[in-house]
């Protein structure tokens, strides 16, 4: 559901004080309306189905059904953007950030508190900005909470791995990614038909130099995406280093500048592309620390797209691909040469080296 005149939010927290504080913070913005509040995970699932809010703010630790389980169930039955507000994160957290995102949440922030009071304004401003931007993100059904998840992997329907019609290739990478991204993009011929979108975690000061060098080796035009850009055949778009790249219907790019620990988020790009392009997207998750991209790759797979991850022996850090494999998001686990061959097989394209 898209917010039109305003953003309808549901607040979930077992503490009524926290609920009131979050509501007061959100309603400092006239465009946000808190349409419901829930004290337990079970209430949250029921109210989401009934109220269909544009976004849910979710507490983690609650009696009975916790925020993780509530998120899984909401994403399985009534997919809704979910923002976790929790102080149970960090080194003593009971769930990792990756696990929370894999359950279907879009982001996690520290629960706002008022002390010292100078933080009230900063916290409420940041919260409002994040809620308004995440409420615009299209979300897809996750089957974590459904019985289908308990079926053995062999029952998952495998998409054809190659030689299929794909409109967009989505690539996510972090530590160790630039080298393999460079290798893959340099292999694409000038007449390569699918559009390519790349999310590479990289410092801003390094990004432009890298892209300038890459542009000399890549046969396709490439650029850093701007808000409102459109994904086009035969062009490579990179997520900017300080914004999330979400893909809206029609292939329009929507940038979210909200600062957070993982930025740009591969999950945001992958999951929105899964929503828009369904089976016409191929997702590649490459070397990188953490779990960003794993949930998004699963969304692509669930949408019928083709999913591949870089294999352990060729990864500098086998974190993100491992997380995707653990989620059963990866249909193929390939080294660089196989990844290249698969990309080139899409739509029958051929590499320049191969005589294309």
């Amino acid at each position: 559901m898209r917010p039109r005149d305003g953003v309808r939010v549901m607040v979930v927290d077992d503490s009524p004080v926290a609920r009131e504080v979050v509501r007061a913070m959100l309603e400092t913005d006239a465009q946000i309306q808190v349409v419901g509040m829930a004290a337990t995970g079970r209430e949250a699932v029921d109210l989401t189905a009934r109220l269909r809010p544009d976004l849910v703010t979710m507490d983690l630790v609650m009696p009975g059904m916790d925020g993780m389980e509530a998120t899984r169930r909401i994403m399985a039955s009534h997919p809704t953007p979910i923002l976790f507000l929790s102080s149970f994160l960090g080194q003593n957290g009971i769930y990792s950030r990756g696990e929370i995102l894999a359950a279907g949440a879009l982001d996690i922030v520290e629960k706002p508190q008022q002390i010292p009071d100078t933080r009230w304004q900063a916290d409420s401003t940041a919260l409002v900005r994040k809620v308004k931007s995440l409420a615009r993100v299209p979300v897809v059904t996750h089957l974590h909470g459904a019985t289908a998840l308990r079926e053995p992997p062999s029952k998952l329907i495998e998409s054809a791995a190659s030689r299929r019609s794909v409109s967009v290739v989505a690539i996510g990478a972090s530590t160790g990614g630039p080298r393999i991204v460079d290798e893959l993009l340099s292999a694409l011929p000038a007449n390569y038909r699918p559009a390519v979108v790349v999310v590479q975690h990289m410092a801003e000061e390094l990004m432009h130099g890298w892209l300038a060098a890459l542009a000399r080796r890549c046969g396709l035009p490439l650029r850093v995406a701007e808000d409102g850009d459109r994904i086009q055949s035969g062009r490579v778009l990179f997520a900017p280093p300080s914004a999330h790249l979400a893909v809206m219907p029609g292939g329009r790019v929507c940038l979210d500048n909200t600062p957070q620990s993982v930025c740009p988020s591969v999950d945001v790009t992958f999951s929105t592309m899964a929503t828009v392009y369904r089976s016409r997207v191929a997702g590649l998750l490459l070397s990188g620390m953490g779990a960003d991209g794993a949930a998004g790759l699963l969304a692509i797979r669930r949408a019928g797209g083709l999913t591949m991850v870089q294999n352990e022996s060729s990864c500098v850090v086998f974190g993100m691909p491992r997380a995707a494999i653990k989620l059963e998001a990866a249909q193929r686990i390939y080294g660089p040469a196989q990844l290249k061959r698969s990309l080139l097989a899409l739509n029958g394209a051929r590499s320049r080296a191969g005589g294309g």
């Binding site: 004080v17 926290a18 309603e27 149970f88 003593n92 629960k111 008022q114």
Partner: protein, 142 residues
């Protein structure tokens, strides 16, 4: 570490709690002043919206915490103490935050015997907030 905002997980030793009775009458006034200040600058009606809920919820939580500690149910005690810490932070009750952070540390270290005086302080602070709020026309939510 910000001493006004100790970590609720007990990973750092919290600042020592003030001696019983020291500045006790100031607790409620400080909380209300804190909310009123935010109210005037940013969120009209905040005190009237949050305080009644805080008074009612904190009464229930403190009883639940005492009960969980009495039963040596450290999981439940930790969960409730964490909620108390968050609620205290929400209304600017710094001494209650510190007391609950210290309780969390004791629970983590399985030193439940050390919690009794801190529970007493939480109760006294709550009473102070209740009295001040009542004088301002705010009572606990039904």
């Amino acid at each position: 570490m910000d001493r006004a905002n100790p970590k609720p997980d007990g990973s750092d030793p919290p600042a020592p709690v003030a001696a019983p009775g020291a500045g006790r009458d100031d607790v409620g006034r400080a909380v209300l002043a804190h909310l009123r200040e935010i109210e005037e600058r940013l969120a009209p009606g905040l005190a009237a919206q949050v305080m009644p809920v805080f008074l009612r919820d904190m009464t229930i939580r403190q009883a639940a915490l005492a009960d969980a500690i009495g039963r040596a149910d450290t999981v439940e005690a930790h969960r409730v103490a964490h909620t108390i810490h968050g609620s205290a932070a929400s209304v600017g009750a710094a001494t209650m935050m510190r007391a609950s952070a210290e309780i969390l540390a004791h629970i983590k270290n399985r030193q439940l015997d050390c919690c009794a005086p801190l529970l007493g302080q939480l109760a006294a602070d709550l009473e102070s907030v209740r009295r001040t709020a009542a004088a301002d026309g705010i009572t606990a939510a039904e």
